[in-house]
């Protein structure tokens, strides 16, 4: 009862010579996804490379867990592959991708909070190499500022964090956000404003 049975999803043969190589790099996301539907791993790889940094950053921001963001993003891509046959060509691929990523990252955020009493999950800052170069110092300051912003974002209530990320990072319209967050656009506008005000206030206080 309640038995779980294996479910096979073997990719169909594809990846012809015509689909591989640099020719794929100039194709749109939607064209690539059409090839992915046919089982093309070469097209899939081009999509992953194209969106890798943004999806990982998105997962980090929504989940608040930078250390786990890469693994969450990998799961997002595996889910995209698994569901490739059901992808609707009329859908904008980026919208679909971030809907999947949002679901995974939000889920991780909740799971992570449940484990918070067990694990201390504060990520360690990467090595900061001492340097006297003005450019390097500027780069480090910028990185430090973004680190502080990431932490401030992580500490926002979920509803504010999700709203401000979808609005300003993913640049969704309020109508699109209504679908994802299941809240009225007036509520979402208010959340975005509150989030920005709180981020600005906190970063202002912390500014050296």
């Amino acid at each position: 009862m309640g038995e779980l049975l294996p479910f096979s999803r073997e990719p169909r043969p594809a990846d012809t010579a015509a689909e591989s190589g640099g020719a794929l790099a100039v194709r749109s996301d939607e064209e690539l996804m059409a090839l992915v539907r046919g089982g093309s791993k070469a097209a899939f790889r081009v999509l992953v490379v194209r969106h890798a940094a943004k999806v990982v950053s998105f997962c980090a921001r929504i989940s608040g867990d930078r250390a786990a963001a890469r693994e969450i993003a990998q799961d997002v891509w595996l889910a995209v592959w698994d569901a490739r046959a059901r992808w609707e060509p009329r859908t904008r691929f980026a919208s679909y991708l971030y809907t999947v990523a949002f679901s995974r990252a939000r889920n991780h955020a909740r799971s992570r909070r449940r484990r918070a009493a067990v694990f201390s999950a504060a990520p360690l800052d990467a090595d900061l190499v001492p340097t006297s170069s003005a450019d390097e110092i500027e780069r480090l300051l910028e990185r430090e500022r973004r680190n502080r912003l990431f932490e401030a974002l992580r500490d926002l209530p979920d509803d504010l964090r999700e709203a401000v990320v979808l609005r300003f990072v993913e640049e969704l319209s309020y109508e699109e956000m209504e679908t994802v967050l299941r809240a009225k656009s007036s509520t979402l506008r208010s959340r975005v404003h509150h989030a920005l005000a709180r981020l600005k206030a906190r970063l202002g206080k912390e500014a050296p």
């Binding site: 009862m1 309640g2 038995e3 779980l4 049975l5 294996p6 479910f7 999803r9 791993k41 899939f44 790889r45 992953v48 490379v49 194209r50 890798a52 940094a53 943004k54 990982v56 950053s57 997962c59 980090a60 921001r61 930078r66 963001a69 890469r70 969450i72 990998q74 799961d75 595996l78 889910a79 592959w81 698994d82 569901a83 059901r86 809907t99 679901s103 889920n107 991780h108 909740r110 449940r114 990520p123 990467a126 500022r145 973004r146 680190n147 912003l149 990431f150 974002l153 401000v164 990320v165 300003f168 679908t179 299941r182 506008r189 975005v192 404003h193 920005l196 005000a197 600005k200 970063l203």
Partner: protein, 282 residues
């Protein structure tokens, strides 16, 4: 004479692109002539620019290396037994060990007290598809209940369910071809909480649960307690299929796709059961 300084909210609306063009022009004109507002707007713009920048150290490798890792995981998946996939997919907390004890304790008692109600409910569900073949999933009888004080209480339309209730499914008329069940709660926040399949970290791949073949109603062997459901109106959805469908669609679809009508369109040969409930959180 300069115009009065706009409220901070107005500056936020400006960079949010939410001001009407006339108003936006007026605010920009003011900002040009006001050092304080110029600084405030500059801070907001810098904040948004930082928000859009990559999170430091998040990727930690080249995009190409990342893509190769994804493809390597794809290639190695048949052997992945310890993958933590379920932790990222599932929202329901499986209540397996305790559930087994509860099932033993109450399995006979509740059925005796609720059989009449069960028969009535099952008849109502089955009536619409009596002309279908015997192994048609739409003939399946399925309902849910909660176990309180050792007694099974059917969950009927409009029922109030406590967040800490132990939930369990019951099925009947499943003789013939194998059928599979996807059952989940969509809470007021649109979150999905899985009942069947219920899984936890390290569990097998999440696909629909294979139903036991039985003519008379039988309670399923797995009970579930929802985890952190949002309070308020929710839907308890059951989909009975001919195939072991993955949970992926339900997990990834917008909540608007999970209505009875939309699900019936997506799974035309399946039984779709939707029960409206209200989740109470103490």
């Amino acid at each position: 004479m300069t115009s009065p300084c706009p409220a901070h909210d107005t500056l936020v609306s400006l960079i949010d692109g939410e001001l009407a063009e006339t108003r936006a022009r007026a605010v920009r004109a003011h900002v040009e002539s006001c050092a304080r507002c110029r600084a405030a707007l500059g801070e907001l713009e810098a904040l948004v620019a930082d928000l859009r920048a990559p999170v430091p150290d998040a990727l930690g490798q080249s995009p190409e290396a990342f893509a190769d890792e994804v493809l390597a995981r794809l290639a190695s998946r048949p052997a992945r037994s310890s993958e933590r996939r379920s932790a990222l997919l599932g929202r329901a907390a499986p209540f397996l060990a305790a559930a087994a004890c509860v099932a033993l304790a109450v399995g006979v008692g509740w059925r005796a007290t609720s059989r009449r109600a069960a028969d009535a409910e099952f008849s109502a569900r089955g009536a619409a598809s009596l002309s279908a073949p015997d192994d048609d999933p739409r003939r399946t009888l399925v309902r849910f209940g909660r176990v309180r004080d050792g007694v099974f209480e059917p969950i009927l339309d409009g029922a109030h369910v406590r967040a800490d209730d132990i939930l369990v499914g019951e099925v009947g008329a499943t003789e013939g071809a194998q059928r599979y069940l996807l059952a989940f709660v969509v809470d007021a926040a649109g979150e999905r909480h899985w009942l069947y399949p219920a899984w936890e970290v390290g569990a097998p791949r999440p696909v629909a649960s294979a139903l036991p073949r039985t003519a008379s109603p039988r309670v399923l062997g797995t009970m579930v307690r929802l985890e952190d459901p949002a309070p308020g109106p929710a839907q308890l959805v059951a989909i009975v299929l001919r195939h072991a469908e993955s949970v992926d669609f339900v997990e990834q679809a917008p909540a608007s796709e999970l209505t009875r009508e939309r699900l019936a369109a997506r799974y035309p040969d399946a039984l779709i059961s939707v029960t409206r409930i209200v989740v109470e959180v103490r």
